[in-house]
């Protein structure tokens, strides 16, 4: 099914949304800091991804992706490097809210 990869990403976005809405992690509400975090991460890990595809470490099965491609990568794989970092930051902020521990930026 062509929606497999997109569905996984959608699940991650929806499953982490309550952290922002219920626990008030204020991650989406700090877009500048979020973009400053996401951009370098995306550049570094997309470069890794492109090199890995070129070296044939892994490849994508077109029958599970939407069919939109950005170079050799399906659009889902590019979105992956925004979705996962946002989910990671949401988790860190949620753990901070719940446990009250410091992360070092206080």
């Amino acid at each position: 099914m062509r929606l497999t990869y997109a569905g996984v990403l959608l699940f991650i976005v929806l499953a982490t949304l309550p952290l922002e809405l219920v626990l008030h992690t204020r991650v989406y509400r700090r877009p500048r800091r979020l973009l400053l975090t996401l951009c370098p991460v995306a550049v570094i890990f997309l470069a890794w991804d492109l090199l890995a595809v070129r070296a044939d470490h892994w490849s994508f099965d077109a029958s599970h992706t939407l069919g939109l491609e950005l170079g050799p990568l399906p659009v889902e794989e590019v979105a992956f490097f925004a979705v996962i970092p946002v989910a990671a930051v949401l988790t860190l902020e949620a753990v901070r809210r719940v446990l009250g521990w410091q992360v070092g930026d206080e």
């Binding site: 497999t4 996984v8 890995a52 470490h57 970092p85 989910a87 988790t91």
Partner: protein, 132 residues
Amino acid sequence: MTYTQAAVLGVVVAVLVDLLVLRTSLVRRKIFWVSYAVILPFQLLTNGVLTGRRVVVYNADDILGSSTPTFLGDGRIVYAPVEDVLFGFALILTTMALWVFWGKRESARLSCSGRTGPRQRSRPSARSPRAR
């Protein structure tokens, strides 16, 4: 370079970036490891779908196991190559370190400009009374 080598290198570089480049030292903080422990099962679940259903296919020459996804064993954990766990760790640590790095800069800027806010309060235990 194989994916196995690249993944180990990725973890080493991410830890060095956290400790020496951004100086966020997240790997020394309990909150990072608790957050990672929360993320890891979800990574295994979602990555298990992507690898178990062969959305992503791996070249057997570049991973420890074979290219056939096995639930556990043959260099695989919940269908994904163990290398993916290292890749994920590097991605998560780099992301969190950058997030905290920009937060630190913001806090420093706010205290320089004399504005008060909840995030600039210094932790009382961070400074011993004798040091003043």
